[in-house]
Symmetry: C2
Subunit: 322 residues, 2 copies
C-alpha cells in the first residue's frame, strides 16, 4: 500500500456525503457539480515545515491547519465549499503520521462537508499543498475592492492569540493553563465559514481573512478600493495576554499578528445598524466587532488613522502606510 | 519583489484572454465561470526533482512538463481547460530560473488558453504542484469504467520514446541527432487536448492518458470496466529506437514505459469504422492507431492477451495480470 492509498484508507471512512461529487478520486480527473448561477472559487496554499509551521508540530495539527487556512479563503470570499485536492510531500512512509494527519484534516472536512477529490503524494521534505474549490454567486462574492466611504469596518473575533503562540514558541516559552488557548489558536484556527450566511444577509461585499495581520490586510482592502480607514484601537478585540509583555509586543500581536484567520469586512452603516438590531433580537447570533470606518482616500493623510492612538509606535509602521 | 510577484510578472505579459475568469489572482480566491450544463473536472499532480525529473532538467522543460502532465489529465477526461493553480517550491530566488520556468509553462498555457488563477511560492527543494481545472458534460466525460465488449482499443501516437530518454539518462548516454526526438518526448510531452473534439465526434466514452505504461494503464480500464483485452503487438506504434537495444528493453519501453502522455481509448466498432471513413475523406485528421479489442471478462484467461506474442517475456509480466 503506498502513501496515498494509506491516506485514502484513512479518508475513505469519512462520512462526507458530497452530492456535488459526480466522480470521485480514481479517474484522470474528479468531476464536480457547480450550482447553476454560481462561480467557481479557487485558492491554493502551501504549508511547509520550518516556514509555515514549527518543526515538531503534531501531525494532527498539520493536517487540520493545512485545510483550515484554505477553507478560510473560501469564507473570506463568501463561498460555499465544494471540495479540495491535496498534494502531500513526506520524508518517509509513516503510517502513524498519516493516520494522525488524516484525522486532523478529517475534523474540518467532516464539519464543513468538503470532500477530498484529488491528490498526489511524493517523498520529500514535509509540505502540504491544498487547493480548495467553492461556489459563490457574482453578486455575493466578498471582494477586496468593494469598500465604500461610510462603510463600518468589522472583525469577526479576537486578534493576536496565534501571534502570541508564534512569539512564545520562538522563545521556547512553555504552554501554561493560562496560555493554552493562545497556542490552540495557532495550531487549530477556526475558519469562519460559519459567518457566510450572516454576511450574505447583511449584504456584505468586502472581506478577507486576516492571515498577515490586521494592518497589512486592511491595507489590501484600502488599496484595492482606493480608500482610507479610521480605527478605534480600544474596540479591537483581543484575548487576555499573559502579564509581563511589553506594550509594543502586545500591540504588534493584535495589529500585525497573522494566523488567527478571523475575517475583516465592511458593512454599510444601514447594514451595521441592521446587525445590531438583529443581534438584540437574537442574542445567539455571532458577535461581530465594529472597529472603525472607511473614509475617502486622500494623499495628504495616513492610510490608516487611530482616533485613540495618534502616535503610532515605530515598530508598527512597517505594516502599513501611516 | 518576491518570487511569486516575479512569476506573476513573467505570467502577466501572456496573451491569454480567459473570458471564463471573472476575478483573477489577488483576492482570497479567483472566480471562474463553469459553462452551464458542464461539470468541473479537477486534477492535481506534483512534480519533484529527483523523483519526477532528473536533477539538471532545464527550468523551461520543468515549467512546460509540470503543466503538460496536468493538461494531459484534462484531455484524458475529455474536458475543456478553464484554468490552473500552481504551488512552486524553489531553493532560492533565482530570477533566471523563474524567467525560463515561466517561459516553459507559458508555451503550453498560451497554446491551450489556460490562465494561471492562483498560486503560492515557498522556499524549499525544487517541486511544482499544479491543479488543473476544466469543464466537461457528464455525457461526454471520458471515464475508465465505460469500456464495452467489442470496443476497439486505440492509442493516439507512438509509445516508448520518453522511456528511451529515461533509460538513456540513467546510463548517461548522450543525445544524438538520431535520438534527439526521443529525449524531446521526455522533456516536452504533448498533451493530446487536440484530440478532444474528434473523440467527442466519435462518441468516445473511455480514455486515459498513458503515464505509467500501456499495460498498466490498460489494466486500469479493464478493471474499472470488468473486461479483458486482446492486443496485436505489431499494431502498437513506436518510434525508431537506436540500434543495439535488447528486444526485451525495446518491448519494455513500448509496453511499460510511461511519460509519453498519449491517450489510450476505446471506440465502438461502428465508431471505429466511422473514423476510418472520416479519415479517408479528410487525410488531415489525426492518426489514431487501432491496437486491439475489448472482450468479456473471464477469470480463466489472462487480462491482456497478445495475438502475435503468445509467450510474454518475464520482464513484462509485472505490469499486468498475464
Amino acid at each position: 500500500m503506498n502513501e496515498f492509498e494509506l491516506i485514502q484508507k484513512h479518508f475513505a471512512g469519512w462520512d462526507i456525503p458530497g452530492d456535488q461529487v459526480s466522480l470521485g478520486i480514481g479517474d484522470d480527473c474528479a468531476l464536480l457539480r457547480v450550482p447553476e448561477g454560481s462561480h467557481l472559487a479557487v485558492s491554493t496554499d502551501t504549508f511547509s515545515e520550518g516556514v509555515h509551521f514549527f518543526k515538531g508540530t503534531s501531525p494532527e495539527a498539520l493536517g487540520y491547519k493545512a485545510l483550515a487556512v484554505n477553507i478560510s479563503d473560501l469564507a473570506a470570499m463568501g463561498a460555499d465549499p465544494l471540495g479540495f485536492t491535496m498534494a502531500l510531500s513526506i520524508p518517509d512512509s509513516n503510517a502513524d503520521f498519516l493516520k494522525d494527519f488524516a484525522a486532523g484534516m478529517r475534523k474540518l472536512a467532516s464539519r464543513w462537508r468538503i470532500p477530498l477529490v484529488g491528490g498526489d503524494t511524493v517523498r520529500g521534505p514535509l509540505s502540504v499543498t491544498v487547493t480548495v474549490l467553492g461556489a459563490v454567486s457574482e453578486e455575493t462574492a466578498l471582494r477586496r475592492d468593494r469598500a465604500k466611504t461610510g462603510d463600518r469596518i468589522f472583525v469577526s473575533g479576537p486578534l493576536g492569540g496565534a501571534a502570541y503562540g508564534v512569539w512564545a514558541r520562538y522563545r521556547n516559552i512553555p504552554e501554561t493553563r493560562e496560555t493554552a488557548s493562545l497556542f490552540y489558536r495557532l495550531d487549530y484556527p477556526e475558519p469562519r465559514l460559519d459567518l457566510v450566511p450572516l454576511l450574505r444577509r447583511l449584504e456584505c461585499r468586502t472581506a478577507l481573512d486576516i492571515s498577515d495581520g490586521l494592518l497589512g490586510d486592511l491595507s489590501h482592502i484600502l488599496r484595492a478600493s482606493r480608500k482610507r480607514a479610521v480605527l478605534r484601537l480600544g474596540n479591537i478585540p483581543h484575548p487576555v495576554f499573559p502579564e509581563g509583555l511589553l506594550e509594543t509586543e502586545r500591540l504588534k500581536m493584535i495589529l500585525a499578528g497573522g494566523d488567527d484567520y478571523e475575517l475583516l469586512f465592511t458593512l454599510s452603516s444601514d447594514n451595521a445598524a441592521k446587525y445590531r438590531k438583529l443581534r438584540q433580537e437574537n442574542p445567539e447570533l455571532p458577535v461581530l466587532y465594529e472597529i472603525g470606518q472607511i473614509e475617502d482616500y486622500s494623499p495628504d493623510v495616513s492610510e490608516i488613522f487611530f482616533e485613540d492612538m495618534p502616535v503610532i509606535p515605530a515598530e508598527l509602521t512597517g505594516f502599513s502606510h501611516f
